[in-house]
Amino acid sequence: MTSARILLNEVTITLGVAPKEYHALKNINIDIKAGNRVGIIGPNGAGKSTLLRAMGGIYPPTRGEINVNGFISGLFQLGLGMQQDQTGYDNIVLNALISGQPKRIIEEKIQSIIDFADLGEFINLPLRTYSQGMAMRLKFACATGFSPEVLLLDEWLGAGDAEFQNKAKTRMKQLITDAHIVVLATHNVPLMKQICDKALWLEKGQVIMFGDIDEVIKARQLKQQNK
């Protein structure tokens, strides 16, 4: 098996029609290797979500090339990929099937996912009866339950109660020690510092800086002060 890696080469995503077209991402070159935990920072509309979705294979690039090695799991908007009228249990099965897991593996892993989600009796109730935090726990359990090699998280850090955050952090650290990749976008810089070792600073669809997390954050603070 090859080790996990994300490679973006001159990736550009153009949206809109000719006179009004704009670049959601412009000439992005990144190389993320196994074991890297990358935090994406940047203002709203910088292209963070688009970049994560492009890495997840959801948005095909207009130009350039994206190469991802490893089993990808993405957590984007909450509520995406959940059936409100189905039970938590059914949603786990559905998520697993959709991400292409074979039946045997699903049967093997489902109990550990239920345990991690820790929803008690609610696991057999329809999702619409869940609080937002519970739905999040379930989704996170689904996304990480099959030990993904590449985990993409969009604004998921800093959500949920303290207990969930600790659980999520522990699980992500475990993924990372297995030499897997985590890429996340967040506005919560202190929390990001606890998890990530690298940072990608994005603005207007372009990479301003990519490197050691402390250096990138320092550079960004410096720029903000100079404004």
Partner: protein, 271 residues
């Protein structure tokens, strides 16, 4: 998915969608059946019951009304209306549902990289299940009325269904794609299908010549209904109908695949 490369051509993506989508039959089976079942959640009579009752009552009413007014020359008219409606419901369900194939599944498409084919097959499967349930009640009524002609021709129902479902798949690729871009298409198709019900020989019979005959002749649905209805109640298989259907299907598949391939990498941005 264990590897992703964005350099795949649209053509190979299209083939991957259809092949890999078919391989993951468990997924669309689960999605389709659970969507149908949850629609009847907390209903006492359930999916099976309500479909059978609703289509059964409908057929019964038709048999009573149209069986009554038919003269000797069209003894079988009630049966003809029932079986015509049966196929038309499938056709129109496939066509109208296929418009929303990408729009209504956007939440999945935007969350996981997966073969789009899964949703195409799911859409067709749902219509097919509903069709089978309708067949149950229509079958009982047709048999009770002694309208089904038991002959070897009945075997032709199978290829007829296969080719109709194939058209359903093509319809998803074609209408689903253009409706993702131009949202008027769905409404237009709805309008057309409501209109088509009356210009297709279901509630009337196509005599040769005359206005009705001409309308029926140039209406493709006439032939799609004929390949199913004729072997069922007339023990006939019309070579003309089959030829027309095969030709239309061939051209439709070609158009669908080229439209879909052309737009494959853009669809997600339209949702």
């Amino acid at each position: 998915m264990h590897q992703y490369n964005s350099n795949k051509s649209s053509m190979s993506l299209m083939l991957w969608d259809l092949k890999e989508g078919a391989r993951q039959w468990r997924t669309w089976w689960y999605l389709g059946s659970s969507e149908l079942i949850t629609r009847f959640e907390r209903s006492f009579i359930g999916l099976f019951g309500w479909n059978v009752i609703s289509f059964g009552l409908f057929c019964l009413a038709i048999m009573l009304l149209f069986g009554e007014i038919s003269d000797n020359s069209s003894k079988n008219f009630g049966a003809s209306v029932v079986s015509g409606f049966l196929v038309y419901t499938l056709l129109s369900g496939l066509v109208t549902d296929s418009c929303a194939v990408f729009n209504s599944n956007a939440q999945w498409l935007k969350s996981v990289h997966m073969p789009y084919g899964i949703f195409v097959y799911k859409t067709v499967l749902k219509q097919f299940i509903v069709f089978l349930l309708s067949c149950f009640s229509a079958g009982i009524i047709l048999i009770a009325n002694n309208s089904i002609v038991w002959s070897m021709h009945l075997f032709m129902l199978l290829p007829a269904l296969v080719i109709i479902l194939l058209n359903g798949i093509a319809s998803c690729l074609f209408l689903g794609t253009i409706n993702a871009r131009y949202r008027d298409v769905g409404h237009l198709v709805n309008t057309i299908m409501r209109f088509a019900l009356f210009v297709t020989p279901i509630l009337w019979q196509a005599d040769s010549g005359g206005l009705r005959g001409t309308i029926a002749k140039f209406n493709p649905f006439t032939y799609y209904i004929d390949i199913f209805r004729a072997p069922l109640i007339k023990a006939e298989v019309s070579a003309t109908s089959w030829l027309v259907v095969i030709c239309i299907t061939f051209v439709f598949c070609l158009i669908s695949i080229s439209v879909y391939t052309h737009a494959r990498k853009k669809v997600i941005y339209w949702l």
